[in-house]
């Protein structure tokens, strides 16, 4: 055998000469340490944000889809929606700005379902998730770091849609502050919605299952006041829209553009985000706990 001196009871397997080498070579003072929750979250978020520009294929649809729907909805429904509004409100009613009405819809389309869940599944499959689990970072930061990156991304995705709205003449009744709150609420919605794909990713570790979570987007985004005001919805769609949190989110976002500072609408919108967030985050963090319990 050509290995080093075998240790036996009481032997550290190293002679004095070797210990001198250790003193010379051991990197001085390099000791692993815990750095705290915020450090861990920022490290994980930083990695996620670095990866985003390297996967343009994951981002481009989120840019194109909202712009497409925004343009198509205005082109096809503007006259009908404005006509219906005039008929409902009478000749003295203020003109109905369908472009302003559609901006929040486009934003919701941009931010709903955008997450790093597919990347998380890849990490699980590649074993990199295990490597992260073996570091001394807080377990919760593995998910929160990704969500912080998602929040930054959905805000970034909202900006081009908002600029398009400005170009088409949409203005905020609540000014710059209202626009900022609008972005934060959109980002908040995008953030809480990520809980669903993350829950599926952590529960299954299956990329196909994560991709299929996109289906959740449809009832949230279409069974609501995407195309017409709630007063003009009828039948089953009106009933479902009453229970769809996106209805209240859109109401809050629209109030910032079309109405002004309307506390009731804003509170309803924030409550909708909080309610969905409570469900989605509970699912996501339960799935994380389950995966940790199962062993990576």
């Amino acid at each position: 055998m050509s290995a080093t001196t075998p240790p036996d009871a009481g032997s550290a397997a190293l002679d004095a000469d070797a210990l001198q080498h250790i003193a010379a070579e051991k990197p001085g003072g390099i000791v692993a340490r815990e750095r705290g929750f915020f450090h861990d979250v920022s490290a994980i978020a930083g990695r996620a944000l670095r990866s985003i520009p390297r996967e343009p294929e994951a981002i481009i649809p989120a840019l194109i889809v909202p712009v497409f729907f925004f343009v198509v909805n205005i082109g096809s429904l503007q006259n009908a929606a404005q006509g219906a509004a005039r008929a409902a409100g009478g000749s003295g009613a203020p003109p109905f700005d369908f472009k302003a009405f559609q901006v929040p819809v486009a934003i919701i389309f941009a931010v709903t379902g955008v997450s790093r869940a597919s990347a998380l599944v890849t990490d699980i499959q590649d074993g990199y998730f295990d490597r992260l689990l073996m570091t001394p970072i807080k377990r919760i930061s593995l998910l929160l770091g990704l969500m912080v990156a998602d929040f930054a991304l959905v805000i970034a995705l909202s900006i081009p849609v908002l600029i398009l709205g400005f170009i088409l003449g949409v203005r905020f009744e609540t000014g710059i502050l209202g626009a900022l709150l609008f972005l934060l609420m959109a980002g908040g919605w995008g953030l809480v919605f990520t809980g669903f794909p993350y829950a599926i990713a952590l529960k299954t570790g299956n990329p196909a299952a994560v991709n299929s979570s996109f289906i959740l987007f449809f009832p949230f985004a279409f069974l609501t006041t995407s195309f017409l005001p709630q007063s003009q919805l009828t039948g089953w769609l009106s009933t479902i829209a009453d229970y769809n949190p996106v209805t209240y989110l859109l109401e809050g976002l629209r109030s910032l553009i079309m109405v002004g500072w309307d506390a009731e609408s804003l509170l309803k919108g924030l409550a909708a985000i909080a309610g969905v967030g409570l469900v989605s985050m509970t699912l996501a963090f339960s799935a994380l706990r389950g995966r940790l319990k199962r062993g990576g």
Binding site: M1, S2, A3, T4, T5, P6, P7, A9, G10, S11, A12, A13, L14, A18, L19, H21, I22, E25, K26, P27, G29, I30, V31, A32, R33, E34, R35, H39, D40, A43, G46, R47, R50, S51, R54, E55, A119, D123, D126, G127, Y128, D130, R131, L132, L133, M134, T135, P136, I137, K293, G295, G296
Partner: protein, 320 residues
């Protein structure tokens, strides 16, 4: 013995009612290279995953670097480095980015990170490609980077789960060299699993042989081989049908203690191989069996495994 770097007591893990690890007792001293040798599915990786805090034991206890893996998992993580069986890397990052992130997750300062990167570049040994995306690396490059990631924080105990599986001979020797270096120069305790006899023999101070979740033998490679206590003559015959007849003939040779057969191969144990070789050849010739090769060797760890379990290890040599 000084406080053990790795200590397990009746460590057990079950999956769906089946024991993957069925009560393992280990004690690995600081500064030791300990090899966990066994065939695929023996429980090596499951044991390592428990020791690395990835998997909670079903029962029993494991202490690594002085900390209980179940109760003080964070402390264990601060003191261990791990390279799992498959290189656990992110193909979307570059090698440097991955190492920097790893250093950050272990709380290293910027200066320490740069110092460690400078040290580990030599180990990774891929020149400027370390700035390329990991997805473009070869298998050997990935394994070396994986090992570097495990070492970034200068751990006290290093776990290597089948570190050379799938590596070419040059990369394999490089890993062996690095393992020896880490142990000899830095005093790092190294716990490695392998299914390669040569690797266990070459690298390890002590070897634990695991089969079906239980440690069936433990000791230095020399002691284990000495426990078999016999030379081994290996005879390969031309036709598998002839093996039975050949075995019967060889069993009658004076000095032959045991004859095992596997396919077209006979394994003949004898106290004095040199003395028995010629009579064995004569006996084989006398029974009319055409012999393809006849070789003598000293016992290997495979012979130890064979003696204890009645089966060979699945792989008895490192692939070229």
């Amino acid at each position: 013995m000084a406080v053990a770097s790795v200590l397990t007591e009746s460590l057990r893990r079950t999956f769906g009612g089946n024991d993957a690890v069925a009560g393992v007792d280990l004690e690995v001293a600081p500064g030791e290279i300990y090899g966990f040798l066994g065939p695929n599915g023996a429980g090596k990786s499951t044991t390592v995953r428990m020791l690395c805090t990835l998997l909670r034991p079903t029962s029993g206890r494991a202490v690594v670097a002085g900390y209980d893996v179940a109760e003080h998992a964070q402390q264990v993580r601060l003191h261990i480095g791990v390279a799992l069986q498959d290189a656990a890397l992110d193909p979307r990052q570059s090698g440097v980015e991955l190492l920097r992130l790893q250093a950050k997750l272990y709380g290293l300062s910027r200066a320490d990170t740069e110092a460690r990167l400078a040290d580990l570049r030599a180990l990774v040994d891929i020149g400027d490609q370390i700035d390329d995306r990991i997805g473009t690396y070869s298998g050997g490059m990935k394994r070396r980077l994986d090992l570097a990631a495990a070492l970034i924080h200068n751990p006290d105990v290093l776990f290597l789960d089948e570190p050379t599986t799938g590596l070419d001979p040059v990369s394999r020797l490089k890993v062996w060299e690095e393992v020896r270096h880490l142990n000899q120069r830095l005093g790092m305790t190294i716990f490695l699993t392998t299914q390669y006899l040569e690797e266990a023999d070459e690298l390890c101070h002590r070897v634990g042989i695991i089969d079906r979740g239980i440690v069936v033998a433990e000791g230095t490679p020399e002691d284990l081989k000495r426990s078999v206590g016999k030379d081994v003559i290996i005879a390969r015959v031309d036709r598998t049908d002839d093996v039975e007849r050949a075995c019967a003939a060889v069993r009658r040779v004076p000095g032959v203690e045991k004859v095992e057969q596997r396919g077209d191969e006979m394994s003949i144990q004898t106290a004095d191989g040199a003395a028995a070789l010629s009579p064995v050849a004569v006996a084989l010739d006398g029974c009319g069996v055409k012999v393809r090769s006849l070789t003598m060797r000293t016992p290997t760890l495979d012979d130890v495994f064979l003696q204890i379990t009645g089966a060979h290890l699945q792989s008895d040599e490192v692939p070229a």
